[in-house]
């Protein structure tokens, strides 16, 4: 976005005020800011729903064209999940709603069917394909709204407060899905008020305040400036604060910055425990889990990460100790010197390598063993 200003009416102040902001292809970005800072308007402007009075929005280096053709091109590449699913869903039956986006793009019916199946699997709503939307709960409707955006197979996915109103497990599942999209090469933008959640997930933060973008960069670069955090209606994430305070008190380095429970414990444990092994069970369609689980030590606790692995583990009635938050939980066990088993969708392999490398930096050299 180059110098973008937008107002709903010339009599009102600018909602977006000379915003300059660029989102790196393939990155995980969090859009942060107080209520009313302009986050949702920012998203609508990115999508071409609002046309800025000043400045321009570039997609892949090309300015958005506000013609019917130009806009439908943008919308075939950018998917958006609105905060309130009821503003997004307007068909009567689940599958009709999910089909709406791809149909508008002129995708053949067979392909749409495949996409609906895939999207429903991703949000773990497979059995609900022909269910009327009004029979679903708020949390379920949110999942369907996400499925609708997934079915477009966008290059950029915008999620406006995706976890608002969801219970903790459902929130984690949404963030797992965001990771999955990221690993499929999708650029993911998430706005949230949950500073801890954003901190544990994103590569970059963009902070909006009174319609201006006042910070773009790493989370730590922003949170270290307490004054700016305060003026932006935000608070420092608790993991960030605890790490900083411990470093100050003990005279140790603030960096590396732990963002997850396993990293925090690894850092304060200072390599005092010999770490355990994490047995890795990547799941791909058509493979089983029960046989492989019999090959790992029976006292190692089992965690699950990813929607397909979770479905499969429950279908096979596998023993599972960490049904949610499996990745952090399994690596926490390893940091604490216990072996663990992580069952995950194979697409997450790079994420697991990332976690192993990160924990090495915190002082825990965790060995992994893939069980096929």
């Amino acid at each position: 976005m180059k110098d973008v200003s937008f107002t709903h009416s010339s009599a009102l102040p600018n909602v977006l005020d000379s915003i300059n902001l660029s989102v790196t292809k393939g990155s995980r970005s969090a859009i942060m800011g107080a209520n009313g800072a302009g986050k949702t308007t920012f998203f609508y402007t990115l999508m071409g729903v609002y046309k800025p009075q000043k400045g321009e929005v570039l997609f892949d280096g090309e300015p958005i064209e506000y013609s019917k053709k130009g806009l439908s091109k943008v919308r075939s590449k950018i998917g958006m999940v609105l905060q309130n699913p009821d503003e997004q869903l307007f068909s009567t039956i689940v599958e009709e709603d999910i089909a709406f986006g791809p149909m508008n793009l002129g995708i053949p019916r067979d392909e749409i069917d495949i996409r609906i199946d895939r999207a429903l699997k991703d949000v773990r709503m497979t059995g609900y394909r022909s269910v009327p939307l009004h029979q679903l709960s708020g949390g379920q409707r949110k999942r369907i709204a996400i499925a609708g955006a997934l079915a477009v197979q966008p290059e950029v996915m915008i999620m406006d407060e995706p976890t608002a109103g969801l219970d903790p497990q459902a929130s984690l599942e949404v963030m797992e899905l965001a990771e999955k999209l990221h690993l499929r090469g999708v650029t993911v933008l998430v706005s949230t008020h949950d500073v801890d959640l954003a901190y544990s997930w994103c590569d970059d933060v963009h902070v909006l305040r009174h319609g201006k973008c006042i910070y773009s960069g790493t989370s730590e670069g922003f949170y270290s400036d307490r004054e700016n955090v305060y003026l932006s209606g935000l608070l420092q994430p608790s993991t960030y604060t605890m790490n900083r305070e411990i470093a100050l008190i003990c005279g140790t380095d603030e960096s590396p910055y732990p963002r997850k429970v396993c990293e925090y414990l690894s850092k304060i444990g200072k390599g005092g425990k010999t770490p355990g092994t994490v047995y890795l069970l990547p799941y791909e369609e058509g493979t089983g889990l029960t046989d492989r689980l019999s090959k790992v030590p029976s006292d190692a606790r089992v965690g699950v990460y990813g929607s397909d692995a979770r479905n499969q583990a429950s279908d096979e009635r596998c023993r599972v100790d960490f049904y949610f938050d499996g990745l952090d939980s399994c690596f926490t066990d390893a940091v604490l010197g216990k072996d663990s088993v992580l069952v995950y969708d194979s697409v997450y392999s790079p994420l697991i390598e990332e976690q192993v490398a990160a924990l090495k930096g915190f002082g825990s050299d965790i060995s992994t063993e893939v069980v096929m």
Binding site: N35, L166, D194, M242, L265
Partner: protein, 396 residues
């Protein structure tokens, strides 16, 4: 265990014939003055339970008792119950229906038949409490979501309920507003209101709750201290919930260092204290009571009398926060004042907390809990309130 203020016995409730009951035999009891949290996944029955407590719904089976007396579902009796047991719904738009902010807040007290002078006082006080007094004459439609949520809260506060139910009070609010709402809840608790809330924010709930009641598929599966529930990972998963980060980190810490998991730290500062271990010198915490009407000069004067100049300063309480005059004193921590000041003291520095007079006892008791639980020994001095200037030595 304090005496029960609300008792639910074997409550069954369904939204219609042939529909599965939303509540299926719930029994639980809320103690007077106990900070109570209702936990549960989406669809577990939390909001329905609140509807039952508020006499919005009449249970198909079972009894609800307020102060030991069963609810009677006649119009007058229901009004009486709702006066004492009020609810803040999750969505403010379910609560606001008058065109102007002031009218909306006045609606409840007027319906109680209170004299207009009393209504006026309540409207002003409750709008001030939520920081919306200057919006009194604004149309509610023109407010943002966060502002509407605060006006809705003011409307409930104006009823001066004995029991206040907050359904997801921080949902949709930015972190600072959420922190203010929690501060208001704390202050109401302090002043004798029994506060019951639901929230999906596991960590927030854990730092606040005395007691949790966990709902699952319309049944209450746990009632008691949070740790008793969070210790059992399987039950937590089954209930659609997660363990708080601070709880997990403390468990890990115990495994790493061999220390006991108890006492359980609930807050960041407590966990930091437990992580670094005792035996380090802490700085002193100065607490300055600031009444709402205190002027800039009196605050500055009180600080100079106490010999306090340059140290990190935090704020706690709604009137201290609204006393804009203290801006010139230079506040470092507008939010989470006690937490931030405690952390500064643990660094070995002195810090100052400007605090509502009625919140001083809470802060003093937080400090003593930290010491007795071994999270850190912070010396605490309560200064003379900002308005009084007779005495010159700080009271210990």
């Amino acid at each position: 265990m304090s005496e029960p203020v609300l008792e639910l016995e074997n409550i069954v409730f369904s939204y219609g014939k042939g529909i599965d009951p939303a509540l299926n035999g719930v029994s639980l009891s809320v103690g007077r003055g106990v900070k109570t949290v209702i936990l549960g996944a989406n669809g577990a029955g939390k909001s329905t339970l609140f509807g039952i407590m508020n006499a919005l719904y009449r249970p198909d089976k079972g009894t609800v008792k307020y102060n030991g007396v069963p609810y009677v579902y006649r119009k007058k009796a229901v009004t009486r119950i709702r006066t004492d047991v009020s609810i803040l719904f999750q969505n403010p738009d379910d609560m606001l229906f008058k065109p102007y902010v002031g009218q909306d807040v006045a609606y409840g007290p007027e319906n109680l038949g209170l004299p207009s002078a009393e209504v006026e006082i309540r409207v002003r006080d409750s709008l001030r409490a939520v920081g919306m007094l200057e919006y009194r004459d604004k149309p509610t439609m023109r407010l943002s979501y966060g502002q509407r949520k605060r006006v809705a809260l003011a409307g409930v506060l104006a009823m001066q309920p004995k029991v206040l139910i907050l359904d997801e009070p921080t949902a949709g609010l930015d972190p600072q507003m959420a922190s203010e709402v929690m501060e208001i809840a704390e202050q109401l608790h302090r002043n004798g209101t029994t506060v019951i809330m639901s929230s999906h924010d596991t960590d927030l709930v854990y730092s606040w709750a005395d007691e949790v009641h966990v709902l699952m598929n319309g049944r209450c599966v746990y009632s008691g201290v949070p740790e008793g529930f969070y210790r059992d990972k399987n039950s937590v998963y089954l209930a659609g919930l997660l363990q708080p980060k601070v709880f997990l980190m403390n468990e890990g810490l115990a495994t790493l260092t061999g220390c006991s998991v108890e006492p359980y730290p609930r807050t960041r500062s407590q966990l930091v204290g437990k992580t670094i271990g005792s035996g380090r010198g802490c700085g002193r915490l100065y607490v300055l009571p600031v009444p709402g009407m205190a002027s800039d000069e009196t605050v500055v004067k009180a600080l100079s009398v106490a010999g306090i100049s340059d140290m990190p300063k935090g704020i706690y309480g709604r009137s201290a926060r609204k006393a804009r005059n203290i801006a010139s004193v230079g506040i470092d921590y507008m939010y989470d004042g006690p937490e931030n000041c405690f952390l500064k003291c643990m660094e070995g520095k002195d810090s100052l907390l400007l605090c509502d007079p009625d919140m001083v006892d809470i802060v003093v008791s937080m400090v003593s809990v930290m010491a007795s639980d071994g999270f850190g020994t912070i010396e605490c001095s309560v200064l003379e309130p900002a308005e009084k200037r007779e005495r010159k030595t700080p009271k210990k």
